[in-house]
Symmetry: C2
Subunit: 157 residues, 2 copies
Amino acid sequence: MDVAERLIRTHGYGGFSFREVADAVGIKSASVHYHFPTKPDLVSAVAKRYRERFSDALDQAEARGEDRIKAWRDLFQKALEQDGLMCLCGILAAEGDSLPPEVAQEAFAFMEFGIASLDASYPGQGARILSQLEGAMLLSRSAGSLDVFRSATQDLA
Amino acid sequence: MDVAERLIRTHGYGGFSFREVADAVGIKSASVHYHFPTKPDLVSAVAKRYRERFSDALDQAEARGEDRIKAWRDLFQKALEQDGLMCLCGILAAEGDSLPPEVAQEAFAFMEFGIASLDASYPGQGARILSQLEGAMLLSRSAGSLDVFRSATQDLA
DNA sequence: ATCCATCTATCTATAGATAGGTAAATTTAT
DNA sequence: ATAAATTTACCTATCTATAGATAGATGGAT
């Protein structure tokens, strides 16, 4: 799942294969199918885990007394600067119509969760803030430079 | 190119094929290769045309005395509500690492153009505004509802 | 007569997926 | 405690579908 997540976050749903995952792990593609019978199964599981991990990280930030917006921004920025990875569900959302329903729904669940999380602290502004963050990652990856992310989100710091 | 653009904007770079384009046009895939030898050739051409068309539409809006932010917002919103399509280059940017260099560069050119265009009227805020718009399209398509786009961009109206 | 746009046919690569087999670990029954 | 049964996690081999791409033929337009 770690390997799959990384591959999806760099190449998208359609841009990775069971064989790539298998090669990276050092097994055969049939063995990946053993654990996750279909591609939607695999990607749904990865997306679900991603959302849960994200939620946990936010809880920890809250326990440290951090502002919600800052927590979101920092989490995304760290992923960008440490691994050059953008939000898993942002990528999935972009592929939209070609996603199997289960996967699309899991990506949507993340967005709903994000909007609700931000709305809780900044009523009515969740969608705007999450949009800004997801878009900033998109531009930043396109430009190949973290500066764009920083510039696009400096008002959220 | 119309067909290809629509397919890319719904399924992404990797999510459409020469055969789909050909079928929609009513010819064979080999005939599409006649006009655009390779897939990067086709998609680069589509992306370039997209940017030029966008630029023209902005010029027209400016001639009508419209605000730049409003012009950008309206163009994206119209695409979403009329055809359910998000920004071509937003989708391409998301696929990032799996794009052929020429295509990635064309997507980046659009983003640069957008940032510069918005910066010209709102200095230092171009990246933020374009991020917000691209992200809002992403969330909106994921939610399958224009309301999300409106909610995420109401401050830009 | 030549060129353009299309066709048919085909190549090679890769995709997701499945069938069937095997060795080792684990669980159950005696 | 040990033998038998089962399950786990792999494997090889293969199927079918589809991808991008190319070669060579055809027919109409200039």
